[in-house]
């Protein structure tokens, strides 16, 4: 019992079921005062559900929760906040059309003469941001800032709730670059020394070892165990998370070498001086059949903008794009899909899934769009296609008729991939296809990309994880400051690559 004094929060025997899925099954969890506690697991392991139960978004079917020795029944997110449980969610839940200051202080605005004191509010917001060393104009709309800044603002907002005893960070670093991540960790360490309990959910194993004190591993809605970080080697952690060994990672190099033999001479997609003012400086790029070209660079370096140009979402004002020897004149997603170019966009929630449609409808969406309004795939064809990709990509869903919003993030990502594979593209552009998905699924996606290349497709692979780009790409294009800086082919010196991304020549 002496130990329990140290526990700020305990959850015992938590069960939660959704239609067709047992999301949590007899899960225990305990958080100490002044610790950073990593919560890890594959997609659908139950991390998000556990957090939703803790923060009152969902009610557990059974189970008890104790906060500082008192049993609690969290009724709503507001109630959780009042109890001192603050959360920053994986998907940013802020109002992009409000100013930064409004976002931080909404609901707690400083008042004067019965109305909002805008001046005081902006000053207060600026001070709060400076705790994280962020110096931005707080009177600008939040939407005008990068996702990274938006993430920081979300954290500042969660911290601002002064009585917070527990801070939950759900994938806070997934869109931050290395420097911003380190800054966040500093803040986390400071809060920890102030006695706050921090639950840190992440897919980046490195980061777990950088900041966390203890680790709780979930798998398929069940608790695997809670461990001290020092007592759990990395490989063991990964084995516990995915329940199998990871020799696949080593296989990857072999597959890559094998597949590089298939690269053919003539470029399939060829950009010459392609650029858009304000988005990307003019660049040259050749993409061959059977080749994976990685785009590396920091956040805001122009990776996604390049992808948008190649797919025709944005119209270039410079240069030419040639596909299979023909100069492209009509730029639109539909024209590209018909041509055989696909883009899996960076922002899965906003640009990818159609959440109320079923898995089947999401998978056939782009294929049907290329067929037009009237050549409607029969139900039988639709199920055949959907089932084929559910099997091929190992999508965890009770059925093809499940609304895609009921799936975990990683499985949603696989559905999006299936949508693009179903269009049978010759060029496949993948913008952050592994963001926010777990180690096992990441390896699956990477292998898939290489096997697609082997089939003779040309792939563009964009990721903020350098290791991943290195592992999957035959060739790496480095972008910096919205400009193509250089290209690496063959054996890549990791050190040199890092330097060119960072822009230091030393």
């Amino acid at each position: 019992m002496a130990e329990s004094n140290n526990h700020i929060l305990t959850m015992k025997g938590v069960y939660k079921a959704f239609p067709g899925v047992q999301a949590l099954e007899d899960v225990d969890f305990a958080l100490r005062k002044g610790e950073i506690h990593a919560l890890v697991g594959e997609n659908g392991a139950g991390k998000s559900t556990l957090i939703k139960v803790l923060t009152g978004v969902e009610r557990p079917d059974t189970g008890t929760m104790t906060l500082e020795e008192k049993e609690i029944h969290v009724r709503s997110p507001q109630h959780a906040q009042a109890l001192g449980i603050s959360t920053v969610y994986q998907e940013i839940n802020l109002c992009l059309n409000l100013t930064v200051a409004e976002n931080i202080l909404i609901g707690r605005e400083p008042m004067k003469w019965g109305s909002v004191d805008w001046g005081a509010m902006n000053v207060q917001a600026r001070q709060l941001l400076q705790r994280l060393d962020i110096d931005i104009d707080v009177t600008q709309a939040l939407g005008s800032y990068s996702v990274a800044i938006q993430q920081m603002v979300a954290i500042v907002r969660a911290l601002e709730i002064s009585s917070a005893k527990i801070l939950i960070l759900d994938e806070p670093t997934s869109s931050l670059d290395a420097y911003e991540t380190e800054r966040l960790f500093e803040v986390m360490r400071k809060l920890k020394s102030d006695g706050m309990g921090i639950i840190f959910i992440t897919h980046f194993i490195d980061q777990v070892y950088q900041v966390a004190d203890r680790i709780t591993v979930l798998r398929n809605g069940k608790l695997v165990g809670t461990y001290d970080v020092a007592a759990l080697p990395r490989l063991e952690l990964i084995a516990k998370m995915i329940g199998r060994s990871l020799t696949e990672f080593d296989d990857m190099t072999k597959i890559k070498l094998e597949s590089s033999k298939h690269i053919k001479g003539e470029a399939l997609l060829r950009a010459r001086g392609l650029g858009l003012t304000g988005a990307v400086e003019p660049f040259d790029l050749d993409l061959h059949a059977g080749e994976v070209v990685g785009l590396a660079g920091l956040l805001g370096s122009g990776r996604s903008e390049t992808a948008r140009l190649l797919f025709g979402i944005d119209k270039p004002d410079n240069g030419t794009l040639t596909f299979a020897g023909k100069v492209i004149k009509a730029f639109s997603p539909l024209a590209s899909i018909v041509r055989g170019i696909s883009l899996s966009p960076e922002d899965r929630k906003a640009d990818g899934i159609v959440d109320d449609l079923t898995v089947r409808e999401n998978i056939i969406l782009a294929m049907q769009a290329s067929r037009g309004w009237f050549k409607y795939l029969s139900m039988q064809q639709q199920y055949e296609i959907a089932d084929k990709y559910i099997q091929l990509l190992n999508i965890a869903t009770p059925s093809a008729d499940q609304p895609v919003k009921n799936l975990s993030g990683g499985n949603q990502q696989k559905v999006i991939l299936a949508r693009w594979l179903a269009t049978n593209p010759q060029v496949l552009i993948l913008d952050e296809p592994t963001r926010g998905i777990d180690v096992g699924a990441k390896a699956e996606v990477q292998k898939l990309v290489l096997s697609l290349a082997e089939e003779g497709k040309a792939c563009v692979f964009i990721s903020s994880e350098l290791e991943e780009v290195l592992r999957t790409s035959h060739r790496i294009v480095v972008l910096r400051g919205r400009e193509k800086v250089t290209e690496f082919t063959g054996e890549v010196d990791e050190h040199k690559l890092m330097q060119s991304i960072a822009g230091s020549e030393a």
Partner: protein, 358 residues
């Protein structure tokens, strides 16, 4: 085991789009069964069915027609406030084509004496219907252009025609209410073939809409655009064309409703034809379970929603609520029906059924 199985099917029923519209309709009919004697009585005269139930269907046909088009528009995430005004425009076009004297067209003297003859029309019936529907469809197209290509918010864009429409309707008839004498035209709204003829029109328009949305990819695209237009655009769906189609079809439906309404009262009454019908149509769609934010829709559920609206009206008249109090009473009943749809009430219902299962 058996219990969990039965609770599963129960869940399937309660989660169906048709469940709540039918519950709402059943509640109103139950009320009628208890409080209004002979509400369910049906009589036959000359092979035609008469009775309160038939009245519900017949008087509800305009809102059903509007509801079909409105469903598609709302599913894209928009709304069309102009349908009532488009009905008035349609009525004016039809009336002028049958009886153009009123706008100063000089008829040859030998035709002038036929003007009040129930067998006389200046333009043939097929032309009247065709031109009327084309004009109404153009009205819808106009709305669609403003919303899809002009990027104007749907409520604002359609408000324009809602306000201007009745003025246009009066311009067409030179500010006069035109009496319609031509008998075959009256058959559209007043004819009977066992059931009121207007019901066959509803069935036909419903069939067109159903085939258009469920036998082609259009229905899925409409839902996709309504749920997430950005993802839809990235997937190659031309969301502008989809929206244009929805508003255009909605205009067409309003045109059909305008024909039925004007044939029913045998005049083109630019002030009163279709007045506040847009609101009834929107409520019908909402009762049918389509979210105002767009997304999943069910045409049949909207039809049931329209019948709920009409059943309320007919029941209120049957128990003797005076016409001037009708709108207020209707408002109260609609609130009660819509409450059925709130998350809170649904959650309560689920908890009750869950307890029963345990």
């Amino acid at each position: 085991m058996t219990q969990s199985k039965s609770s599963f099917t129960w869940r399937k029923i309660t989660e169906s789009k048709l469940f709540f519209p039918f519950i709402a309709l059943a509640l109103i009919l139950l009320f009628d069964l208890i409080f209004i004697p002979r509400f369910f009585a049906l009589t036959t005269q000359e092979g035609h069915l008469y009775g309160n139930l038939v009245d519900v269907l017949r008087n509800g046909s305009c809102v059903m027609l509007l509801g079909i088009g409105m469903t598609l528009v709302i599913a894209t995430g928009g709304v069309d406030l102009s349908v009532g005004a488009v009905m008035a425009i349609a009525a004016s076009v039809a009336a002028v084509m049958m009886n153009p004297v009123i706008i100063g067209l000089k008829l040859p003297p030998n035709l002038m004496k036929f003007i009040n003859d129930p067998n006389f029309t200046y333009s043939p019936l097929w032309a009247v219907i065709l031109v009327t529907l084309i004009v109404a469809t153009i009205c819808g197209l106009w709305n669609g252009l403003l919303v899809a290509y002009g990027r104007i918010q749907a409520m604002v864009a359609t408000l324009i025609l809602m306000i201007a429409g009745r003025g246009i309707a009066q311009l067409i008839t030179n500010g006069v209410r035109i009496q319609i004498f031509y008998e075959p035209y009256a058959f559209i709204g007043q004819g009977w073939i066992v059931l009121p003829f207007s019901l066959y029109i509803v069935a036909a328009v419903f069939a067109i809409a159903w085939v258009l949305t469920r036998k082609t990819a259009i229905g899925m695209f409409i839902e996709s655009v309504g749920i997430n237009f950005r993802s839809s655009y990235f997937s190659g769906i031309d969301e502008k064309k989809i929206k244009l189609l929805a508003y255009t079809f909605c205009g067409f439906c309003a045109g059909v409703a305008g024909l039925v309404a004007s044939s029913n009262i045998k005049t083109s009454d630019a002030y009163n034809i279709g007045l506040t019908f847009e609101l009834d149509a929107i409520l019908a769609v909402v009762i049918g379970g389509t979210l105002m934010a767009g997304g999943r829709f069910s045409l049949f559920a909207s039809i049931v929603g329209a019948l709920v609206m009409q059943a309320i009206t007919t029941s209120m008249y049957a128990i003797g609520v005076p016409a001037f109090a009708l709108q207020a009473i209707k408002g109260v009943v609609v609130v009660l029906v819509i409450l059925l749809y709130s998350e809170q009430v649904r959650g309560l219902l689920h908890r009750i059924t869950a307890q029963k299962g345990a």
